[in-house]
């Protein structure tokens, strides 16, 4: 496993080139091009804001105002997370030709998927910043320092799950279809369109088992809630858990590595 990691390090230039290629190729040929990276989250946000302020006004308590901003704090990281996992579950199968014919570490592919998602996430940040300025949310400088930490924790967690899913999906193609539905459930089991405090206590205990709950709550605390970031102990805990998930994901991937070329 350690030698595999060393190999992976050698391929870091390839990973960065592949991420760049991924981004370039994605919007090649479309009129708006790169602009879509900004427009996509904005449109998504518009849809949710429309539903929760015009179709269903008043379902959220006043402390969640401005609701559009509250939504954005959860949706932006969630989009990164869910699209990365969905793509990762298919990336080895789609790149089967490469894995069967070229000698290179296959984990590069899911890693590239997650990193490309990270870039899209970062491209959404200016819009988030614009919202923050527009609504005049007071930002605590100390909180902002936590922001990259939250992103890093999410990155590690997503990487671990992406590695695990991508390798398993080669053996069990069902995962791809299962995952799409699971992610919908996961979305609603995460306090994105509601606040954790709104959930009844027994449900809250259940929601607390969801690692992504803590991530979203951290994002909301850092960006949305007034007052300084008080939830950092649970973020640190989550960081530990994310590292375990990542190591486990890599371990499983490494174990299945030799079977990948035959099964895809």
């Amino acid at each position: 496993m350690l030698t595999s990691l060393r190999h992976l390090f050698r391929y870091r230039a390839l990973i960065s080139s592949l991420v760049a290629r991924e981004l370039k190729a994605r919007y090649r040929g479309s009129v708006l091009g790169f602009f879509w990276s900004f427009v996509n989250p904005l449109l998504l946000l518009l849809v949710y804001t429309f539903v929760f302020t015009i179709v269903l006004p008043g379902v959220h308590p006043p402390e969640l105002e401005p609701f559009a901003l509250f939504l954005f704090c959860g949706i932006l990281p969630w989009t990164w997370f869910s699209s990365s996992l969905l793509e990762a579950s298919n990336v080895l199968i789609a790149g089967g030709n490469l894995i069967r014919k070229v000698l290179f570490p296959a984990e590069v592919l899911p890693i590239v998927t997650v990193l490309a998602g990270l870039v899209h996430f970062c491209l959404g940040l200016p819009i988030l910043a614009a919202f923050l300025v527009y609504y005049g949310v007071p930002i605590v400088a100390g909180d902002l320092l936590w922001f990259p930490v939250v992103v890093a924790v999410q990155l590690v967690l997503t990487l671990g799950l992406a590695l695990l899913l991508s390798a398993l999906a080669v053996h069990f193609r069902d995962i791809r279809d299962l995952l799409a539905n699971l992610l919908t459930l996961w979305f609603f089991a995460t306090p994105i369109i509601y606040a954790l405090s709104q959930a009844p206590a027994p449900v809250r205990r259940f929601l607390n088992l969801n690692p992504f709950t803590h991530l979203v709550v951290s994002y909301q605390e850092v960006l949305f809630q007034r007052g300084s970031f008080a939830e950092w102990p649970r973020l640190i805990l989550l960081a530990g858990a994310a590292l375990v998930v990542c190591a486990f994901g890599y371990f499983v991937f490494d174990r299945l590595r030799d079977t990948l070329a035959e099964e895809v």
Partner: protein, 474 residues
């Protein structure tokens, strides 16, 4: 020094039943067999204990039929996949030309693809920059390098893939049947590149069906067959052994096909000759116009008399129109045909220059006196390579009463490599057929050299003066 060391390598692939492919996750979860499912159950051995060494600096060939395990072996050496048993050790940097341009992304430019492909093959960005112009020049894509790869023709695509892979500058180059990608000029360039590899003492492993390439370029070769090494050593000997085996297999296949064709044409094989006498009468029986009608059942078949059969039987066979088949009055019948090779045994594959003997077993219902025997050899395009009969060759009379044998002996079958079909016939002096077998017998002639045309006269080259020619095949 050994560049590649293969020791007792076995590679087992799992084979799925249809049932296992559906609902794998469900069954895995329900049965708690998540880990067991990742282990093979129904298996197939692509390689069954293969060992060989490739010394550094040699060009090494692997030949074998489709499915013999060549590509599996190459992938194991490339490090794509690991052997189930045994070890594969490779010294130095490996580059595998297994599928060219496998990592290309169609939407981005050739330039970017060169970088990404090169990095996948293990180069650093700086190394690629240093070789970039060389790669592009080799691929002959200077004008198009900034266009998206999806606009490339398949030849351009392959050339770029080849150029990147070969410029990785490997110590060991693995090549799997990729030389057929370009035009003549590009193929020559690739061969030049291989020659350069040899000169600089690097190792090339070549998997190919082009045996010519193996005998010309390789220092050593192995022949893999169904996952085992059948021969190893001098490329010429290995290729010869392989070709002989292919000929044997073709012999069996052609024999089977010939038996089927004869069956369809109603030619009697041993044990059925007794039928000839069953409908003996003073008059010739209604000649059957169709090859499928045997003499014994033709008169009995209702409606057979109404057929315009006489015309068909008496019409001289038109060499240029007739398809394979059998016709004739059957007063004289060719009951059995055998093709005999050099060793005196029936064969269907003959080396060019070897003897061929055509043996006919003939039987007459009534004694006949105006009999002519003929044979014809046709190539795959239907061109008559040779045709003769006893009348052309001056026979003044030929009679047959009862049964007898006819042997047509060719001392040297001097034909070029190819498939040929034979006519054999017994007919009257005026050409009306007693029994005409049209293109019913197929032989394969193999030659060591891919000469063209039809006829291969025994020959040799002589040079004098300032002409120096070396390496001619004997």
């Amino acid at each position: 020094m050994t560049a590649i060391e293969v020791r007792g390598v076995r590679k087992t692939y799992r084979r799925y039943g249809r049932r296992r492919q559906f609902g794998t996750l469900k069954s895995a979860l329900l049965g708690g067999r998540l880990l067991r499912d990742l282990r093979p159950d129904e298996t197939f051995d692509a390689l069954k204990g293969v060992s060989f060494d490739v010394p550094a600096g040699r060009t090494f060939g692997i030949v074998g039929r489709n499915g013999s395990g060549k590509s599996t072996m190459l992938k194991l050496i490339a490090g794509i996949g690991r052997p189930t048993e045994g070890t594969v050790r490779v010294q130095g940097r490996v580059s595998a030309l297994i599928e060219l341009g496998a990592g290309f992304h169609p939407e981005i430019s050739g330039r970017e693809n060169v970088y990404i492909n090169g990095m996948m093959l293990g180069l650093t960005r700086r190394e690629i920059t240093a070789r970039f112009s060389e790669i592009v020049a080799f691929a002959e894509l200077e004008e198009f390098i900034d266009a998206p790869v999806k606009t490339y023709s398949s030849g351009m695509y392959m050339r770029l893939g080849f150029a990147v892979a070969i410029n990785v500058d490997p110590d060991v180059l693995l090549v799997d049947e990729v030389l057929a990608v370009g035009d003549e000029a590009f193929t020559h360039k690739c061969l030049d590149k291989f020659a350069e590899f040899r000169r600089t003492d690097r190792t090339v492993l070549l998997v190919t069906h082009s045996l010519d390439l193996v005998t010309r370029f390789c220092d050593e070769a192995v022949w893999l067959d169904a996952g085992i090494v059948r021969a190893h050593g001098d490329p010429r000997r290995v290729v010869d052994a392989y070709l002989q085996d292919v000929a044997r297999a073709e012999n069996v296949a052609l024999g089977r096909a010939a038996a089927a064709a004869l069956d369809a044409a109603g030619v009697h094989v041993e044990g059925r000759t007794g039928e000839v006498a069953t409908d003996g009468g003073a008059d010739p029986p209604a000649p059957s116009g169709e090859a499928t009608a045997g003499p014994s059942d033709a008169p009995a078949r209702p409606g057979s008399a109404a057929r315009p059969s006489t015309a068909a039987a008496d019409e001289p066979p038109d060499m240029f129109k007739a398809d394979e088949g059998r016709w004739g009055s059957r007063e004289v019948e060719i009951t059995d045909v055998e093709l005999i090779g050099r060793d005196g045994r029936p064969a269907y594959v003959f080396e060019s220059g070897e003897p061929l003997e055509i043996r006919l077993r003939v039987a007459a219902r009534l004694p006949v006196t105006d009999l002519v025997f003929g044979v014809g050899i046709f190539n795959a395009e239907g061109v008559c390579c040779y045709g003769t009969n006893t009348k052309i060759e001056g026979a003044t009379s030929a009679e047959l009463a009862g049964a007898g044998d006819v042997r047509f002996v060719i001392e040297r079958l001097d034909l070029v490599d190819g498939t040929y079909k034979l006519d054999v016939a017994a007919h009257r002096e005026n050409g009306a057929a007693y029994d005409y077998h049209r293109l019913l017998y197929t032989i394969r002639v193999t030659a060591r050299l891919p000469e063209t045309g039809i006829f291969r006269p025994p020959h040799r080259w002589r040079f004098s003066g300032g002409v120096r020619v070396t390496g001619l095949e004997p």
